[in-house]
Amino acid sequence: MIPYTIDRRADSGVNNVTLGIWLFIASEVMLFGALFSSYALLRVSAPAWPHGRDVLGVWFGVGNTVVLSVMTALVLRARAVPPAVGRQFLAVGTVLAAVFLVIKGLEWRGEIAEGLVPSLNTFFAMYFTLTGLHALHVACGIVANVWVLLGASRVPDGMTSGRIRAVALYWTFVDVVWLTLFLLFYLT
């Protein structure tokens, strides 16, 4: 096995998985940072910008905020409990993430039916692109969770808990991005 897959290396203080996921988050910060910068630039130069609460379904957004935050709390909690319980927390969290996608899909369907499509104006272009990219992150997170759950019976417990710590960090990031989107689109 590759050294430090499970154990921490003394001089860096982390194992490979932890360092890898932090680097990944750093790159994700640059990705969404670029997108939020684009949002700011296009918004300040726009002659008019709709109030999100007037054109979007705020309650969809509130519902999804609750679902994703509970989900993230569960996954964060999964790090601290015994591995068998942690897997159950992760499983419930995965279901909640799927619920998030269902709610988001229903919301999009309603909007598109009303003619609120990306080509309408820059607000909706940004809204669909950013929430779409975020939903893609949720979908990838679900795949990662399932992979951790399926792998749990095949790899040592130490490795599974390392993986749970990694997905917990990822979900925290995904939740923070969602809260930012909720603020930028629904509440302003």
């Binding site: 590759i2 050294p3 430090y4 290396r9 860096s12 982390v14 194992n15 490979n16 360092l19 890898g20 680097l23 990944f24 750093a26 790159s27 994700e28 640059m30 990705l31 969404f32 940072g33 670029a34 997108l35 684009s38 630039l41 296009l42 130069s45 726009a46 002659p47 499509v117 990306p118 080509s119 309408l120 104006n121 820059t122 272009a125 669909f128 692109t129 990219l133």
Partner: protein, 560 residues
């Protein structure tokens, strides 16, 4: 050997072969371009008939095809050839060996990174078979042109998306490997400079590429979902108002693109500096002069490279305040580059240089990179950049950096590490031919470009600017550049022949034929799976050449 392997050496070789094929493809594009510039409206010899009626009519290249070739030449060379060559091939193969690790930290992600790269490259190049051909809006894909271009641009964007995923996975892997898997005793300041260069490069890939990913997503939305991220209001195309919501900003794309693409320049050059440092230390039989200063400079370059991007955008009307800021940062970033080059130059002083083929390439790198760097200074200052912008001067400048600069370093690396990969050396007569031919050919192409650019010739003209009278004094240079390109191509055939011949017939050598100090030379050639029979232990710095009171003129890092 399995095709899908997680061994870093196999993946490194896969990267090498694939990037060499793309390098050749990018070169074929340029052969066609240089023919067109030298002999416009004359039929392309030999292959003109096979390029498709929509591209070439009666052997003569059409303007649309010319723009596709120039856009794809840049794209293929930067994203599909040089970066995977420098980082994917050299980084993957050598870094674990140089740090005494059994493999990369995440072997499966490593394989994923290669296959994403291959898929991205194929998707991009497949654009040539779409209606309207491949991407034709330049390697920079500036909107609004790119937003409105043919389907090939969508292939370019999808391909770019895959490539960025590939480099993301690869860079996470590389950084984690260097931080976590160094052998006992191999402290950071005992790392070979090559490894430092790969580390900084990986940070650039990790942090600079995502904004282009964001930009690619936005441009894909513009093209596929009808949004207007990069389309301003009131755009008129072919005499008709464009029916889009408008309100977008083409300049936004330029910011996002160059936020990647300037660090990308250092992605192209840092691994090359790493290779040259290894080869020069070995050829001079001396420790590198100023190793610590070089490491510091590489780190400083990495940091500063995020603060210079808008010097590509002096003509966008961003105003003197912004220009002043980016001019200052641009002048600052030239300092660490000069520190590294000066250190390498000073390393030669008092050395008893072994003029092997890799050493020739590495030595030629220094003045060539010097020309490339110095010709860049006028482009970093707005006052001189404005008249030079978009001329052949710019093309000459960055090709001096990337072709006889980076490519020479990569060739040096191939000749230098070939014995490690195969247990055989490459033929030095063919190697010398390759070196001198490439040196003459590249200078024959790029030096005239500087002259043409100073005469004001625009870099994007299908006929090379023959319709303008001001180009008359320099137009005759094109035919010389064509013959230099032919020479360059011919000697690359020597290189390919040398590779193939040496694989089968090259002279068998010991595991350390260059009497080198770094860890990769302490294992067999080729190294076994998991690289070392037992984990090596490191006792000294990377360049212990000609030590005092020692029997040999070098001490390997693993020697107590």
């Amino acid at each position: 050997m399995r095709i899908i392997s997680t061994d870093h050496k196999v993946i490194g070789l896969q990267y090498l072969l694939t990037s060499l094929v793309f390098l050749l493809l990018g070169f074929v594009f340029i052969l066609l371009i240089r023919w067109q510039l030298a002999y416009p409206s004359q039929p392309i010899p030999l292959i003109g008939a096979f390029l498709g009626e929509s591209n070439v009519t009666q052997g003569v290249m059409l303007p649309e095809f010319y723009t596709q070739l120039s856009a794809m030449h840049g794209t293929v060379m930067v994203f599909l050839a040089i970066v995977p060559f420098a980082v994917g091939a050299f980084g993957n193969y050598l870094v674990p060996l140089m740090i005494g690790a059994p493999d990369m930290a995440f072997p499966r992600l490593n394989a994923l990174s290669y296959w994403l790269y291959l898929a991205g490259g194929l998707v991009m190049v497949a654009g040539f078979f779409l209606p309207g051909g491949a991407a034709s809006s330049g390697w920079t894909s500036y909107p609004p042109l790119a937003d409105l271009a043919q389907a090939g641009q969508t292939a370019w964007l999808v391909g770019m998306f895959l490539l960025i995923l590939s480099s993301l996975v690869g860079s996470i892997n590389m950084i984690t490997t260097i931080v976590q898997l160094r052998a006992p005793g191999l402290t950071m300041m005992r790392l070979p400079f090559f490894v430092w260069a790969q580390l900084v490069t990986s940070f650039l890939l990790l942090l600079a590429f995502p904004p282009l990913q964001a930009a690619a997503v936005l441009q894909l939305m513009d093209r596929l979902a009808g949004t207007s991220f990069f389309l301003p209001s009131g755009l008129v195309v072919s005499g008709e108002a464009l029916h889009v919501s408008g309100g977008g900003s083409p300049i936004l794309w330029q910011h996002l693109f160059w936020f990647l693409a300037h660090p990308e320049v250092y992605v192209l050059i840092l691994p090359a500096l790493g290779i040259v440092a290894e080869v020069i230390a070995n050829a001079t039989r001396k420790p590198l002069w100023g190793y610590r200063a070089m490491v510091g400079s590489a780190l400083f370059i990495g940091f500063m490279s995020f603060l210079v991007w808008a010097h590509h955008m002096f003509l966008t009307g961003m105003g003197p305040t912004m220009s002043a800021f980016f001019q200052v940062t641009t002048m600052i970033i030239s300092i660490p580059s000069v520190v590294i080059i000066s250190s390498l130059l000073l390393s030669l002083y008092g050395g008893s240089i072994r003029f092997t083929v890799p050493a020739l390439f590495a030595l030629a790198f220094l003045p060539m990179f010097g020309i490339g760097g110095l010709t860049g200074l006028p482009l970093g200052l707005a006052a001189t950049d404005i008249p030079l912008h978009d001329t052949y001067y710019v093309v000459g400048h960055f090709h001096y950096i990337v072709a006889p600069g980076t490519l020479f370093a990569l060739f040096a690396g191939i000749y230098y590490w070939f014995p490690k990969v195969t247990g055989r050396t490459m033929n030095s007569v063919l190697g010398q031919l390759h070196f001198w031919g490439s040196l003459a050919g590249m200078n024959g192409i790029f030096l005239p470009m500087l002259i043409e650019g100073l005469a004001g010739v625009n870099r994007r003209l299908y006929d090379g600017g023959r319709t303008y009278t001001y180009t008359a004094p320099v137009i005759h240079l094109y035919s010389g550049q064509w013959w230099a390109t032919v020479l360059l191509g011919a000697v690359q055939l020597c290189f390919v022949a040398n590779l193939v011949w040496s694989l089968a017939r090259g002279k068998r050598v010991s595991q350390n034929p260059w009497d080198a100090t770094t860890l990769e030379w302490t294992t067999t050639s080729p190294p076994p799976h998991e690289n070392f029979p037992s984990t090596p232990r490191v006792h000294r710095g990377p360049y212990d050449y000609s030590p005092n009171n020692a029997a040999a003129d070098f001490l390997p890092q693993s020697q107590p």
